[in-house]
């Protein structure tokens, strides 16, 4: 009870910076339309997608029983990016525009393909470090192919595309926000329904099995949901690094628990805050030039990953 209570307190305090950011905007911006048409969707996008990214990482870490799993590090974001880039280029050439939902579907397809690939490899290697190396390599391959295509897709759309392939929350529209919040909300609800089986799955697969968990179904759900979350992010903001991997660790350290019922909302909140702060830094530090969001998240996220690995070396395993 105490744990849940502290967890709720933390998620409660998460709301405060959210409010501050919104208020800060209201005072700084003089033009109402810019605020509503550009800033608001962008903040909302960072908020929703940040949460989605953190949860995607959380689910993957649960799935692989591996603390250094995340959608970016395992190449899943890059796989989704590749497919989305293909769809964008094809649609730009054929002069039709793609809806947000269709982008999510194609990103989901891309992330599933890479996930399955990583899964097949992970069956062969039981080694944590090796799995990560493989994921990073797959990510590089996908990124290289994407770069290749972006370079050759000579089109007016290319500026946007290049921007997107670096990862950015810019160019968000209210319409996008509507689609993503619907999808993310749906996935969030389903993740909550998995909280109970996840709580014992963390202790090991056979452990969960003997408590009556349908382990196979749970594994499929974990994969589908984490793929869906990261697909949403990639479709709208491109690949964003280190949020999925770092935020769950920060949250675990703050909450001092591994209870999914606490961690799921806390991770979502944590991811939101992390992304909004990073996006703010990306926009403001060198303004009017924008940094890519990944640049900022990497600066804050990668030390966390290093810390986790060092701590794991010290402890058992």
């Amino acid at each position: 009870m105490v744990m849940v209570f502290t967890g709720n307190l933390i998620t409660g305090s998460a709301d405060i910076p959210l409010g501050e950011i919104l208020f800060g905007k209201a005072y700084n911006e003089t033009i109402y339309t810019i605020l509503l048409r550009i800033r608001l969707p962008r903040v909302l996008g960072a908020c929703i997608l940040g949460g989605a990214l953190a949860l995607s990482g959380y689910l993957l870490q649960t799935f692989f029983h591996n603390p250094i799993a995340g959608p970016f590090i395992l190449g899943i974001s890059s796989g989704a990016k590749l497919i989305v880039a293909v769809v964008m280029i094809v649609s730009a050439n054929m002069l039709f525009s793609v809806s947000g939902l269709f982008m999510i579907v194609s990103a989901f397809f891309g992330s599933m393909v890479t996930l399955v690939l990583v899964l097949i490899i992970s069956r062969k290697v039981r080694n944590t470090a090796l799995l990560v190396v493989v994921g990073v390599m797959i990510g590089y391959i996908c990124s290289a192919v994407t770069e290749f295509m972006v370079t050759f897709a000579d089109d007016s759309d290319i500026v946007n595309l290049r921007n997107w392939s670096m990862g950015s929350f810019s160019g968000m529209t209210m319409e996008n926000v509507g689609v993503m919040s619907a999808v993310v909300f749906l996935c969030l609800v389903m993740t909550f329904l998995l909280a109970k089986p996840i709580s014992v799955y963390q202790l090991g697969e056979s452990y969960a099995f003997h408590l009556g968990v349908n382990v196979k179904a749970l594994r499929v759900w974990l994969i589908v949901l984490s793929g869906m979350f990261s697909a949403c992010v990639t479709a709208f903001a491109g690949p964003v690094s280190f949020v999925g991997i770092a935020v769950p660790h920060i949250i675990r350290a703050i909450c001092r628990t591994t209870k999914p019922l606490v961690l799921i909302p806390a991770c979502f909140m944590g991811g939101s805050i992390f992304c909004m702060v990073c996006d703010m830094i990306a926009r403001t530090v060198f303004s009017p030039t924008e940094l890519s969001i990944s640049t900022v998240t990497a600066i804050f996220g990668s030390p966390v990953v290093i810390a986790v690995m060092l701590r794991k070396k010290k402890g058992q395993f």
């Binding site: 014992v200 090991g204 056979s206 452990y207 099995f209 349908n214 675990r252």
Partner: protein, 252 residues
């Protein structure tokens, strides 16, 4: 009869490891499985627990086919403790024990009054109150085995399946562990199916013993008929003279 296997063949990927296993266990009985490393004791236990698919034969639980029980029903009637290590992060021993209530809790896994009572009782029974608040990953092997036993107990099963639970414990903890099992059987009429390497203890705690060698059950019966020098030498391929030199005082 609580649990019965009828001509059960077990193994991995369709390859039989042990054939024609016929064993039975009643409420309030301890049945031990003995045999050399790799003889297939764990394979039998895993098949009964449902981790492995059986190859042929039948497993009857309360005179019904085991397959007819749902996942949840099985979890309420069987508790298992295998040799795989359990990794936890930031979980107290109490929380680990609480996971045993999984089949009984509501959709979000909240504990009811009955659940809490069962947890409390199990913790007292295995005597782990002193370190119930400690982090599970930071206690000794012996303590960890007791916590896992408490988890298995609070699941309130009809039958407890234990695979070499005492192997890594020192003699003090071995004796304490087995004493708890005896108490469980006497007080709660639980049935215990256990594999172990400690022949001296197996002889003393079991109602029936199953001896496994070379892909079949070679002996099955009351311990006093099984724990003879001749049987043990044969079962573990120990030369007679070495047996008397090293184990002579432990068994007859």
């Amino acid at each position: 009869m609580l649990l019965q296997t009828d001509n059960l063949t077990v193994g991995y990927d369709g390859q039989a490891v042990i054939e024609a296993v016929c064993l039975h266990i009643r409420k309030g009985e301890i049945v031990t499985l003995i045999g050399a490393n790799g003889s297939g004791k764990s394979t039998i236990l895993k098949t009964i627990a449902g981790t492995l698919e059986k190859i042929s034969g039948r497993i009857l639980f309360m005179e019904k086919n085991l397959e007819d029980f749902s996942r949840k029903e099985k979890a309420e009637k069987f508790s298992v403790m295998f040799t795989e290590k359990v990794h936890t992060e930031l979980m107290s021993c109490q929380e680990v024990v609480e996971t045993g209530r999984y089949p009984y809790t509501d959709y979000f896994g909240r504990l009811s009054q009955t659940d809490r009572q069962a947890v409390e009782e199990a913790i007292q029974l295995v005597d782990i109150e002193d370190f119930a608040d400690k982090d599970f990953s930071q206690i000794s092997d012996g303590q960890r085995q007791r916590v896992l036993l408490a988890k298995a107990i609070c699941q309130q099963p009809e039958i407890l399946i234990l695979d070499e639970p005492t192997s890594y414990l020192d003699i003090h903890h071995k004796i304490r562990f087995l004493e708890i099992l005896r108490k469980l059987v006497a007080e709660k009429q639980m049935a215990v199916l256990i594999s172990m390497h400690e022949l001296d203890f197996a002889e003393k705690i079991s109602d029936y013993t199953v001896a496994v060698k070379d892909g079949k059950v070679v002996h099955y019966g009351k311990p006093d008929t099984i724990f003879t020098a001749e049987n043990i030498c044969d079962l573990f391929s120990i030369p007679k003279d070495l047996y008397h030199q090293y184990l002579g005082k432990m068994t007859k």
